[in-house]
Amino acid sequence: MMNILELNGITKNFGGIHALSGVDLNLEAGQVLGLMGDNGAGKSTLIKIIAGSFPPTSGTISLSGKPVNFARPREARDAGIEVVHQDLALCDNLTASMNVFLGREIVRKIGPFRFLNRTAMNEQAAELFADLKSETRPKDLVRQMSGGQRQAVAIARTRLSQPNIVIMDEPTAAISVRQVAEVLDLIRRLQRAGLAVILISHRMPDVFSVCDRVVVLRRGTKVADKPVTETSPEEVTGLITGAIETA
């Protein structure tokens, strides 16, 4: 099967600091990849390179076999890569539906003017939430929502553009236990829809319950890349801390 995302020898230096050295990574459609590592291991740097925040110092990125170079996040988004940011990047004062469509509003032309088509946006948002089996209502203000519902809004936003890859940065870091289950369900649904997901997480149970593969970074290098069925939380912990060299 063709890799939807292929990273070859990705290296990133910030001045004299080697944030990443020679990282290779492949991702297939319908695969959920857990990206783990301690703080400063290079997870964020790697994600930002894939999402177009900055280019690698060296190395290549290919999407479905075609090499790409992103100058800004917008280009990565247009190429089918959506990111759910750690803080979700939501506007609390707006409704769920307006947050989903923020920056990509549906408008209706009346003469020379263009007006928001709230009805269309609310309907489409309702469909997205229904697809995600979320109880989030399009007209609710985000301010009044639970952590799980907020996650659903941020995830629904990634589905507007029919992306191929969704990157989720610590989606379960700051929410309650019940809501964690909701978010993990959402990830499984993305997977069933044929998307590739990269999940950054510190939580071992989350990774082992939804991911197909786990990749561990330590001090800028990839020290492990294996199916979750062939490893254990203990081994991964050892790999993260350095107690186990590589696996």
């Binding site: 506007c91 307006m98 263009r114």
Partner: protein, 341 residues
């Protein structure tokens, strides 16, 4: 449809939240109460001519408050409006008179000069340029709006004094003063302009992409940016809008007073900001409405008028308005802390 619902959306029905309901309708409730009290204490208050008078008095500051609503929704502020009104009014009057030579000329002597439309456009152009310069300083030089517009307050006032040499430009022909003193039917022209501007601003804020982005930038600027909203352009534009309102208001004010002066609009920022904030727009950005601002402007006008009818000293009026402003913000803070809880 809920008139004071600040983002124009339905909210979930999680039982009857009496506090939330009272908070949302606080300004309209207070306005109605005030009208009832003044009507009981002073029968002349409800006379149609007096009510139209209230409307005429609030129309100038109300017009600027509409522009200020956009600014405050992005969590900004504009302290320079009074000074910009003085400068724009002088430039408009100068253009109408065709120079400073006949600055006091009236009647037949004043017939040289330019059509009124040139004066309006000149005043509005000055307002827009003033707003745009401040918008650039805020978005490009990253100076906080409070500081930029505090500087603007001084700069525009100084420019107005310099331009006019300190003296007024006065004595306009009727086609100019009609815009400030005239009526269509029984409704004063500035009142019509005020409500027209309010209607347009409401549509822009609630029904256009730009309006939605104004709310988004005020709610979470960084998130808006990540989602592809051009936050810099939105922020720049709100200062241009308030500048436009200042230019138009400056023309209407000089027409009403039959005089443009460098000291016009002194302290106007108080009434303008008070109208917006009393109307429920949060100084923290992201929450508020044009409807609220209109109510806030009316509230201040009714209060002033009623106190005058009851022979309360204008010194006391100042104290009352200042206190109500503080109370409105205290209420906003309290409501915000409650909704976060």
């Amino acid at each position: 449809m809920n008139p004071h619902n600040t983002t124009g959306e339905m909210e979930p029905d999680t039982g009857t939240d009496w506090f939330g309901l009272a908070a949302r309708y606080a300004a309209p409730i207070f306005l109605v109460g005030l009208v009832l009290v003044f009507a009981l204490l002073q029968p002349n208050f409800l006379h149609p001519l007096n009510l139209l008078n209230v409307l005429r008095q609030v129309s100038i500051s109300g017009l600027i408050a509409i522009g200020m609503t956009f600014v405050i929704l992005t969590a900004g502020i504009d302290l320079s409006v009074g000074s910009l009104v003085a400068l724009a009014g002088l430039v408009g009057a100068y253009v109408f008179k065709g120079g400073l030579d006949n600055r006091f000329a009236i009647g037949a002597e004043a017939v040289t000069g330019n059509p009124v439309i040139y004066a309006v456009l000149a005043a509005i152009a000055v307002g827009i340029i003033g707003g745009a310069l401040q918008g650039l300083a805020i978005t490009r030089l990253k100076v906080p709006p409070f500081v930029v517009t505090l500087g603007g307050l001084s700069v525009f006032r100084g420019a107005a004094l310099l331009f006019s040499g300190g003296g007024p430009i006065s004595g306009f022909r009727p086609e100019y003063t009609w815009w400030g003193q005239g009526r269509i039917g029984i409704v004063p022209v500035p009142v019509i302009m005020f409500f027209l501007a309010a209607a347009i601003a409401h549509i822009v804020l609630k029904h256009t992409r730009f309006g939605m982005h104004v709310y988004a930038v005020g709610g979470n600027s960084a998130a808006s940016d990540l989602n592809g909203v051009n936050t810099r352009r939105v922020t720049f534009m709100v200062y241009v809008i308030v500048g436009f309102c200042c230019g138009l208001a400056a023309f209407l004010l000089s027409a009403r007073l039959n005089s443009a002066e460098a000291v016009a609009g002194m302290g106007l920022e108080l009434d303008v900001i008070a109208a917006v904030v009393i109307g429920g727009t949060s100084l923290f950005g992201g929450v508020g409405s044009i409807f609220g601002t209109v109510v806030g402007a009316l509230l201040i006008g009714v209060l002033r008028n009623g106190l005058v009818l009851m022979n309360v000293s204008s010194f006391v009026q100042q104290i009352v308005i200042g206190l109500i402003l503080i109370a409105a913000v205290a209420f906003d803070q309290y409501a915000a802390s409650r909704s976060r809880a």
